[in-house]
Structure formats: structure tokens, C-alpha cells
């Protein structure tokens, strides 16, 4: 956060204002307003940046949820792994960005596939309950393994294009924030094309609507579940890679990211693709504004309160239909 925008500065100015010559009062009033709006803008920029990551997590949730009807509690661990593996490849092994980026996505995708093959598929009495427990176990295992490998300290990653902030109407925008938003847009565009234009994407969508009917027309449902895990792991990895230069990354970030991503998911409407994006951005904004204007200590609580409120008031979310939360055969 820009240091010159700290709250309270404006207050002291105005308390001195009465003792000053009258002609100075007016310009100062304007200064104050500018600093407050730019402060808001600053929070909004931060919110959209982190909200993009929540949106990516939420999209990942939806991809698996639509096909399997289970919530993947390891979704946040994919983001954490994306960040830490990228740090390992780029900072420790000095592999250039262009190669380490896809390599990281590949590694995390393999982890996602392994999650399905080793933890979900072998379950003898598959039910949504046992699948969720398995993903909780897997999430815990991945987190433990990450602590074992990387230790408890957070790691930094060099930003893609320098750390010189860009001035934007009084707010300072990190170039990396633009990358984050850019990658969210890229993920959305690629996924939309994938789901609408390719046979594989259409098969995945068919599975989401009705697995039994899909298998009747020759779609291999098991393969589609595998694909959904791979896809959401890859999306999570991208989120982790792009956010690490801004917020660092450590082994125990996964659970919190998963909860906030889920909050975004529920806010937008469980299973809704565009709902996930809208929900993610709103959660990010609420969190950033809440931390800046109300209390930074309770920063993490805002998103979770939103989750509880949405469950209370409109469980179908903003863009979801009531059908999704009611009729899915849990």
C-alpha cells in the first residue's frame, strides 16, 4: 500500500485548517478528497488483483464440482504448489520464465491427475462424502509435503515485468497486477473456447449435465473426471504463479485460498462459470476494502462472513439457479 495514503493524515490537516488563511482552505479540501478517492481506488486495485485469484480458484472448484458433484478441498493446495514450484524452478534452478511457467503448470497438472488416480479413483465405496474426505486428506498430505520440502518460510518470486508501479489516477498499480488480471482473462477466454468449440469440452459439459446419459452416447466418464482434475489443477497453478510475486507464497496458504475461492463460488452460484468470476472479484473487493477501511486484523474474516450471509439469504448465488443447489443428487 502506498505510504502517503495512510488514513488520518487528512484529519490532522483539516483540524489545522481553521487556524490557516482562508484562501488555503479550499485547495486543501480538494487534496483531501483526491487522496480519499485515490485511496479507495488503491484498495479497489488490490481487491481486483486478489479477487482474480479467488476467481481462478472458484473456476477450479466448479470444473470438478460440475463433473463429480464433490467439492475438492485440495483446490487451494494447487495454487500453493503452483507458486512454490515456480519459485523452485525459476529462483533455485534459474530456468527462464518462458520455460518454467509451462513446466510448473505441467507439474501441478500431474499432481492433480495423481490426486484423482491415487486418492479419488481407488475409493471402494464412492460417495460424495468419502470423496470429500479423501480430498481433505489429500490436501493435508500435500500441505505436509510442501512444509517438508520448502519449510515454513514464505518465498518471493521476481515479477514478470519489474516492480516499477504505474500511476493510475493517484493509485499505484503494480505491473504484476495487470499480469494477474490478464491471466484471468486468458483463462476465461481459453476455457470458453474449450467448452464451446471442442469435442472434449462439450463432452465434459455433457458429463456435468448427466453422467449416465453421457456414458450411453460413448463418453468415458472416468476419463472426464480425470480431465476435470487436471484442468482445475492447471488453473490453480496459473493462479499461484501469477500471485506469488505480489503476496509471496508459503506452505499453509492453501486452506484459506480454498475457503475464499469457495465463498466466491457460492456467491456467484455453485457450478456457474461466469458466477465464479463475478463472485471472485466481489470477494476480493470486499476483503480489500474491509481491510483498508474497517480493520486489517479481521481481513480474512470478511470473505467468510460473506459466505455465511450468502448461504443464509440467497444460497443459489448471484448467477446460479436454485436448481443447481437443490436438485444435484447429493
Amino acid at each position: 500500500m502506498a505510504p502517503f495514503l495512510t488514513p488520518g493524515v487528512g484529519d490532522t490537516e483539516s483540524s489545522f485548517a481553521s487556524a490557516r488563511p482562508r484562501f488555503l482552505l479550499h485547495p486543501q479540501k480538494i487534496m483531501e478528497e483526491i487522496s480519499f478517492t485515490s485511496q479507495l481506488l488503491q484498495y479497489a486495485v488490490t481487491g481486483i488483483t486478489i479477487g482474480s485469484i479467488y476467481a481462478m480458484v472458484a473456476i477450479g472448484f466448479n470444473v470438478i464440482y460440475n463433473v463429480t458433484e464433490a467439492i475438492n478441498f485440495a483446490q487451494g493446495e494447487f495454487v500453493m504448489l503452483g507458486g512454490l514450484i515456480m519459485v523452485f524452478l525459476q529462483v533455485a534452478l534459474h530456468i527462464p520464465l518462458v520455460f518454467s511457467f509451462p513446466l510448473t503448470i505441467l507439474v501441478v497438472t500431474v499432481v492433480g491427475i495423481l490426486l484423482h488416480l491415487l486418492a479419488i479413483k481407488p475409493i471402494r465405496e464412492p460417495s460424495v462424502l468419502s470423496m470429500i474426505i479423501a480430498t481433505i486428506g489429500a490436501a493435508f498430505f500435500i500441505k505436509g509435503a510442501a512444509m517438508f520440502i520448502w519449510g515454513k518460510n514464505p518465498f518471493d518470486l521476481p515479477p514478470f515485468s519489474g516492480r516499477n508501479p504505474i500511476a493510475f489516477y493517484g493509485a499505484m498499480v503494480q505491473p504484476q497486477s495487470l499480469w494477474v488480471v490478464g491471466f484471468l482473462v486468458a483463462v476465461v477466454v481459453v476455457l470458453t473456447l474449450f467448452f464451446d468449440r471442442t469435442i472434449l469440452g462439450k463432452a465434459l459439459r455433457a458429463c456435468a449435465v448427466n453422467p449416465d446419459a453421457s456414458s450411453l452416447v460413448g463418453i468415458n466418464v472416468n476419463y472426464m473426471i480425470l480431465l476435470s482434475f487436471a484442468l482445475s489443477a492447471a488453473i490453480g497453478a496459473i493462479g499461484g504463479i501469477v500471485i506469488t510475486p505480489i503476496s509471496l507464497m508459503e506452505y499453509d496458504r492453501g486452506a484459506m485460498l480454498a475457503v475464499k475461492g469457495f465463498a466466491a463460488c457460492v456467491l456467484g452460484g455453485m457450478g456457474s462459470f461466469y458466477g465464479a468470476i463475478v463472485g471472485g472479484l466481489i470477494i476480493g473487493l470486499i476483503e480489500s476494502l474491509g481491510a483498508g477501511l474497517i480493520s486489517s486484523g479481521y481481513k480474512d474474516a470478511f470473505a467468510l462472513l460473506v459466505l455465511l450471509f450468502v448461504l443464509f439469504l440467497k444460497p443459489s448465488g448471484l448467477l446460479g439457479s436454485m436448481e443447481i443447489s437443490k436438485i444435484k443428487k447429493f
Binding site: 467439492i71 471402494r124 462424502l129 481433505i136 493435508f140 505436509g144 517438508f148 484459506m256 457460492v266 447429493f330
Partner: protein, 323 residues
């Protein structure tokens, strides 16, 4: 229906045997020096058992996961701790107060998330658990923040202080026995049958006129209340609280206890509590760094290879032998 009395008798048999074993353990421990060390751990086992029995009702019989039980545990503990140290109110009243507060919160969280199909409760309680940890850490003047809350007074029963481990052991385990008795009664009653039918098929249960969400909320509230009682007992036994004893990790450990013991059996909940508490307090020090991985692996191995938990092993062995 005709098998019910038989089952009731078997329950009473199990309970008496279990109670006798518990009575004898301290006597045995007094004479065997290796065991005497375990009295302390057994108190914690009792405290965790109260929670796992409640959670088992929720998971095994209502088919829902709660990741927020560490929060209810912490709520009970902190209400007991803070109110007795700051306001000097009778600890037993605080225990009741914690129970009421936890139940009310459980209603608030449970009502919206349990009315929906699916596992919204798991995420809502996960969120609640994280919020509560933040609250414990941030309210420094009330809870002592991350440094913890010390000098919580011990419990006394009718003017008679429970000042030794053995006395507390008997107190905690009598709570466990009462919880067991209550839960077994619930399971064998109309409510229990309704709950099992929900777990079997929600659609069929609701077609038979079972009010699904009402029963789910009921079980969730009861189990939250139990966790809160366990928290109060914990606070007065340890005389010291810190937020780390009530974070998400503890919720996951409770989950592991249930899965390891067997989520469809109340007795499994106790077995799991014994094993994981010993693992946690006694044996896991050797693997400090790999602790998380080991817990994760336990969950995966059990859910994949032994979905019925450890209590299903005797039945399986018998099946193999009689074949």
C-alpha cells in the same frame, strides 16, 4: 423393531464393560509405573472422546462433515476461561453458558447450510473455524491473543476440589459415559432411525415423511454443544489456553479420529480418539516435520482400504474365518 431390545441389551453390556475398564485403569496405573504416565493422556482422550462421539452422530448418522468442531471446542474453552478469570463466575455455570452459546451459533450456521442439499456445511464450518481462530488471536485484552490465557481455576464438585489427575480422570470419563449413553439412546430411538434413513437416501427418507433438514440441524447442534462441554473441561484441566489448540488442524484431527475408528459406530469414535490422542501426545514427536503428511496419509489409507474404520476389522476377520 424386534431386534431393538437385543441391541439395547448389548449396548448396556458394552457400556458396563467399558465403565468397569475405566474404573480399573487408574488402580492398575497406580501399581504399574509405565501406565501411570498415561493417566494424563487418558484425560485428554476423554475430552476428545466427548467431541468425537458428537461428530460421529453427525458424520456417521446424518452424513455431514463439520470442520468447525475445533471452533466449538475453543468457544467452550474460552468462555469458561475468560468468564471465570475475568468475572469470577462459577465454572459450572460457564460450562452451561458455553454450551448455550455454541448451540445458538450452531443453529445460525447450520440452518442455512443444512437446508441445502450437499456439503455446504463442511465449507461453512471451515470458514467458521478460521473466523474463530482470528477472533481468539485478535481480541488480545480478552483472550490474551496468541500468547494465551493463563491461570484458569480448576473445577470443584460440591466444594470438593478436583485437584489431582486421577480425580479429573473420573470426572471427564463420567462425562464421556453420559455422552455415550445419550448418543446410544438417540441412535436407537425414532430420531436415530430417521437419521440413518437420511444417510441411506435423502430422497427416500423425505418421501417417508422425515424432515431431513430438521434432523440434520438437531444433530449438528447437539454435537456442537458436546464439543463446547469438552472445551470447558479442557480449559479447567489445563488452566491455560492458546488459540493454536483450537485451529483447523484440530478439526482435521477430530475428523481423522472418526474415520480411523469407523464413522458408523459410536464406539469407533472412542477407539479413534484413543489412538490419535496417543499418536499426537506420545508417538508423533519423532516425526515432527512429517506430521501433516502422516495425518493426510492416514485419512487416505483408511478411506480407500478400510472405509468402515477399525471397528469393522473384527467383523471382517470373522467373515473370513467362518467362510
Amino acid at each position: 423393531m424386534d431386534r431393538l431390545p437385543f441391541k439395547k441389551n448389548r449396548d448396556i453390556l458394552h457400556l458396563t464393560g467399558f465403565g468397569l475398564g475405566l474404573l480399573l485403569f487408574p488402580l492398575l496405573a497406580r501399581h504399574v509405573s509405565i501406565l501411570s504416565h498415561y493417566m494424563d493422556v487418558m484425560v485428554f482422550v476423554g475430552i476428545y472422546s466427548i467431541m468425537t462421539i458428537g461428530l460421529c452422530l453427525l458424520m456417521g448418522y446424518a452424513g455431514q462433515i463439520s470442520l468447525g468442531h475445533a471452533a466449538f471446542f475453543g468457544l467452550g474453552a474460552y468462555i469458561s476461561g475468560v468468564v471465570t478469570t475475568k468475572y469470577g463466575i462459577n465454572p459450572w455455570l460457564c460450562l452451561l453458558m458455553g454450551m448455550i452459546v455454541s448451540s445458538v451459533i450452531a443453529v445460525i450456521i447450520g440452518t442455512p447450510s443444512l437446508k441445502l442439499r450437499g456439503h455446504y456445511l463442511a465449507m461453512a464450518t471451515l470458514a467458521f473455524c478460521i473466523i474463530i481462530t482470528i477472533v481468539f488471536n485478535e481480541n488480545v485484552e480478552l483472550t490474551g491473543g496468541p500468547d494465551g490465557l493463563a491461570f484458569i481455576q480448576g473445577l470443584s464438585l460440591m466444594g470438593y476440589p478436583l485437584d489431582s489427575i486421577a480425580k479429573y480422570y473420573y470426572l471427564v470419563w463420567s462425562f464421556v459415559l453420559v455422552t455415550l449413553l445419550l448418543s446410544l439412546n438417540v441412535i436407537r430411538s425414532r430420531v436415530g432411525r430417521a437419521m440413518r434413513s437420511i444417510h441411506g437416501s435423502e430422497l427416500a427418507a423425505s418421501a417417508m415423511g422425515v424432515n431431513i433438514s430438521k434432523y440434520k440441524i438437531y444433530v449438528f447442534v447437539v454435537s456442537a454443544g458436546m464439543a463446547s462441554v469438552a472445551g470447558s473441561l479442557y480449559a479447567h484441566y489445563l488452566n491455560f489456553l492458546s488459540p493454536a489448540s483450537f485451529d483447523l488442524f484440530v478439526s482435521i484431527k477430530l475428523l481423522i479420529m472418526i474415520i480411523l475408528g469407523g464413522m458408523h459406530s459410536i464406539w469407533g469414535a472412542v477407539v479413534g480418539a484413543v489412538l490419535i490422542t496417543f499418536l499426537n501426545y506420545e508417538w508423533l514427536h519423532y516425526f515432527e516435520e512429517a506430521e501433516g503428511m502422516i495425518y493426510g496419509l492416514i485419512i487416505l489409507v483408511i478411506i480407500i482400504f478400510l472405509p468402515g474404520g477399525l471397528v469393522s476389522v473384527p467383523g471382517k476377520v470373522r467373515k473370513i474365518l467362518t467362510r
